[in-house]
Symmetry: D2
Subunit: 346 residues, 4 copies
């Protein structure tokens, strides 16, 4: 049983079928092929953003770091949550790609930044002068690293503050599908209509093998971006195989269907946590359960060989209750979910 | 008809089958899965290098740039041929990854550096002091960007010069399979036994969707390399799909079989060039034909809509004969090869 | 009246005399001159470190960033205090020079990290794996950004924790002279004998025009450092003028004498703060007074045109008491100090 | 006797006097002082460029690299001469500061690029696409690394080609004073009136201790530049000492007077080379003599302990005639010049 991460799980068969369908004949390389054109169009359609520039890469770290570097100079300050993936989990890729931009982190309940905190932080940032660097970008994650979501109003409030300070807003959407599935809003409402300037739309955790879309809603913000992507080794010569994955997810609402499945499984686990007397550290709003469970329940799970991470600090030893993270994917077996729920309940 | 590049062509069905086979169940991410372990072992076996560190990335540019950055400080001088892919075709990725290393280019017949030229250049390099930077790495491409090959003796001669100067030797093997297929030597003879310290073993042009292996024959040279790869966004969370591709190629000699097929098609085109009175700019030793053909033949091919690149300067207009490059892949249709040969012959 | 910064003040006449003395005849450039040799030797003597590698640069930001980049790879984690100059005041220079290293900040009373906090943080850092980067360096500032000092025992405790984790210890000594003047210990006791691996020994704030020494106590840690310095534009061709400044400060104890003078003036201001009912946020242990003073006193000082910074947040408006920083230099006029004391006291 | 470099020589007394004059009282740091304001204004006046943004740094490598990074993205191509200082003598600083920009070098007689060669090279550069990077900047050196000069018409021809391709033109003017002294034109005619967009105006080789001005004629091109300079450690806190040096040189035509003196000495040496049967590799148009002299003359000079560099390859051994470089400074003793002339003549 594996609840360690959604990237532990497989790709959806439709993704592999799309790849196989793309696998015939000669096409021009580096994205100048018809599958790529169709996939980019599909993402634009999905977002109701006909002017947007859409590009693909194979990893979420690349997607975020490339967009950060595109939108921040080396001397830029990038504002994000303390627990943002770009801060905690990308081995300083944003700093590397941008040549030194500083991630300035903000505290916020549930993995979310709130607009007032952002406003206050930007005010300080406006005063740091040469010493502190220049405010450049605000980045949020949706769904967050704590499994919660920003709704369109919350996004719009942040965008309003960012824009008032002259800064663009980036959304790390590694689990964007999970957020949309929960919120029931349109992707456009959650992004550009709310003021998002650049979106990383994750495919990998949603059921691709390894594919992410980067979307610049204003094409002017993508100036030179293809060179940047190439220079970092993230332009695939046989780009059709990357594009086909995103095309499959964007077709017939597969991406949302998969996200719904994953979210539902997380709900089951969340209920089991509550049943056993555990505490949900955050409400279950996507495909992750963040909870503190009785040590006895943790011990049972360990004894059964269940895989998951202690959270947020993997080095924790001996705590009771035990803080942990359980992540589900579209294809986490329902039997495993049920078994884990049973183990939790003892 | 497409002779523009081997990356215009498809992936071998066995590659897709291997990917599909890997697509079940949950595994740990970031390379801690059994397919990755098997693929790394397969590459070590193929190279008779049981101690080597093997890692995978999705693009050749990433592979070369990561290895260059691993083996050169920011103030390093990396010696390569004038026409080396790392110099001409990677958008300064080695400079970006290494934070500024300078590519010092050497002239050499047939895309090859010769040992005497290297020795002389390194002597100059040893004298440039702080102003010029510190000699750090020698990089060669095999098969070369001109379709020729270095044989093991030639590699050994270069390695000897490089090592005498304290520098490691890197081989860009984007078309390593094509070189081995031509030479009939063992991969080990062409690499570590000849003194190669790091190899980029290409899968993409050989029949993968997008997969390359990076091999450090001395594990000490790979110190910290996984962090470097992660920081550049080149660690795939679902690494099994990348690894499965290399595993398929390494299984039952598929990689060499595919290279043989591509090479054979190039021989057919090369003969047609000669037949029409064209001049082979280099002998056909891998899967590329570099030739100057009568303008009339070029005009016929253009009229027929055949795709290929003028070479080495894509901006050439009106020359007669016309310098060009024709590249074949394992799956370039034999009918297309025959048709192109017929067009050339008029 | 200027209490904004010690770098608002002038250079000591002996520094200019030394520069003038160096200004004759032809010498070899880039540090291969006799003044540089003497100045490097003088710093080694001052530190009782005959094997140390000593180099000079013109700014403290360059000194710190170069040393950080020398001791941390791009994927390194550099541990420092929340208020460390390298974190707050160098425009992300350490990140730029290192190509992306992440500064991981620690809370600590009085601008000091304590050993237990460091140990705990390093334990977490050891567990972050590829995602979080690799622990690389611990950096402390002495005297701190809050005007306090680490004594040799405190340094040794931190060094012990750092070394146990395999990390070197860097000391930003922009105001090292002020710390030594307060502590009365030997420079060696406060650095290498306590486990410091690299020291940035500041001259600029101590009475130079613009000169800082970087010291690597183990020459092996300086491998390639001259290239790094050159590549960042920090090797002066006429290095004698830089070296002469440090030589002057190191001669006949001038550096300590100047630091004593500055420290003494800060004591006077600190007493005035107390007298007016203000609160010292930290004890006055070097040449800075960090205090919260009644708004009325602040208003009097503003009305008199006294220059100083609100602290730690320059954007604070309307607070009472008013948090601020007063900095003295060797040549802050005693009359100004007295006048400011009088203003404070009303 | 030292003819190794103009940076082997001293600073003019007026420079030290200006520094001493600046050395009193408290001023705000980081360039917000009156001396800096006056020095920036003096440079603007000298160039008849009232709108220009002028900033100072302490080294020529920093000046060039900062301007290159300001005007080129990481994926940019910077066009310069094969022997450009930025290519041969700055330890890849432009690549480091820009995060990877590629220097594309052009051959040209006398260290000069000619407009036709540039036009042809840019045409190729326009065709390299993602693989080759994007053309970003043209950089020339005046006086050149071969002691020759571009006159205003030659600069204008290059600027015209660069601008037609949408690229700005940078002039490395480490020896700009020497060029102006030879040409007798106005600094404005040789720069912005001829189309130069950014100038590095050297003070160090002209008689400063270590000071260079960077000038952006269009302020829009300097957007964010102060942050860039700060992040690289090149903002001096006590900037007045840097600015005072440039102010001294710009006052009463001192800079041109010093350049005339140096140029005149080079003429004497050049004549001696001709007299002894040596060959001037280039006409003597500034303060350097590039010549091939009979080995016997070289042996005499070596026996007399005269310092100079073999050129362009410092590793040359045993050639006859011996290619070398002799550089003069404003304060190279006339007696040494006469003595060297005598040695050459045997």
């Amino acid at each position: 049983m594996n609840f360690a991460s959604d990237n532990s799980y497989a790709a959806h068969p439709a993704v592999l079928t799309a790849v196989a369908d793309a696998n015939s004949g000669a096409v021009m390389g580096y994205g100048a092929d018809p599958v790529t054109a169709r996939a980019e169009a599909a993402i634009r359609d999905l977002l109701e953003a006909p002017e947007a520039v859409v590009r693909f890469v194979a990893t979420g770290t690349a997607a975020n770091a490339l967009v950060c570097a595109q939108l921040s100079p080396s001397f830029g300050r990038i504002y994000c949550h303390d627990d943002a993936h770009i801060e905690t989990s990308e081995c300083a890729a944003p700093e590397f790609f941008s040549h030194g931009a500083k991630l300035v982190t903000l505290t916020g309940e549930g993995g979310r930044i709130d607009a007032a905190t952002l406003a206050q932080t930007l005010q300080v940032g406006a005063g740091v002068g040469l010493n502190g660097g220049r405010s450049a970008l605000v980045s949020i994650t949706n769904a967050t690293e704590w499994g919660t979501v920003y709704d369109p109003d919350q996004v719009a409030a942040l965008a309003s503050v960012a824009h008032a300070a002259g800064l663009p807003l980036h959304m790390d959407g590694a689990r964007f599908a999970n957020a949309v599935a929960t919120l029931g809003c349109s992707p456009a409402d959650l992004t550009w209509r709310a003021g998002v300037d650049a979106l990383c739309l994750g495919g990998t955790k949603n059921g691709a093998m390894g594919a992410e879309a980067m979307v610049f809603f204003d094409p002017a913000r993508a100036e030179g971006f293809d060179y940047r992507r190439k220079q970092s080794g993230h332009v695939m010569s046989k780009n059709r195989y990357l594009a086909a994955q995103m095309l499959a997810l964007a077709t017939d609402g597969l991406w949302l269907d998969l996200a719904h499945r994953a979210n539902t499984k997380a709900q089951v686990l969340g209920q089991a946590v509550v049943d056993v007397g555990g505490r949900l550290l955050q409400p279950v709003q996507s495909n992750g359960v963040f909870a503190a469970i009785p040590k006895a329940a943790h011990d049972r799970a360990q004894a059964a060989g269940v895989l998951y991470h202690l959270w947020p600090d993997k080095t924790v030893q001996g705590a009771d209750p035990v803080p942990l993270r359980l992540v589900t994917a579209w294809d986490t077996p329902d039997a495993d979910v049920a078994a884990m729920a049973a183990i939790l309940r003892g």
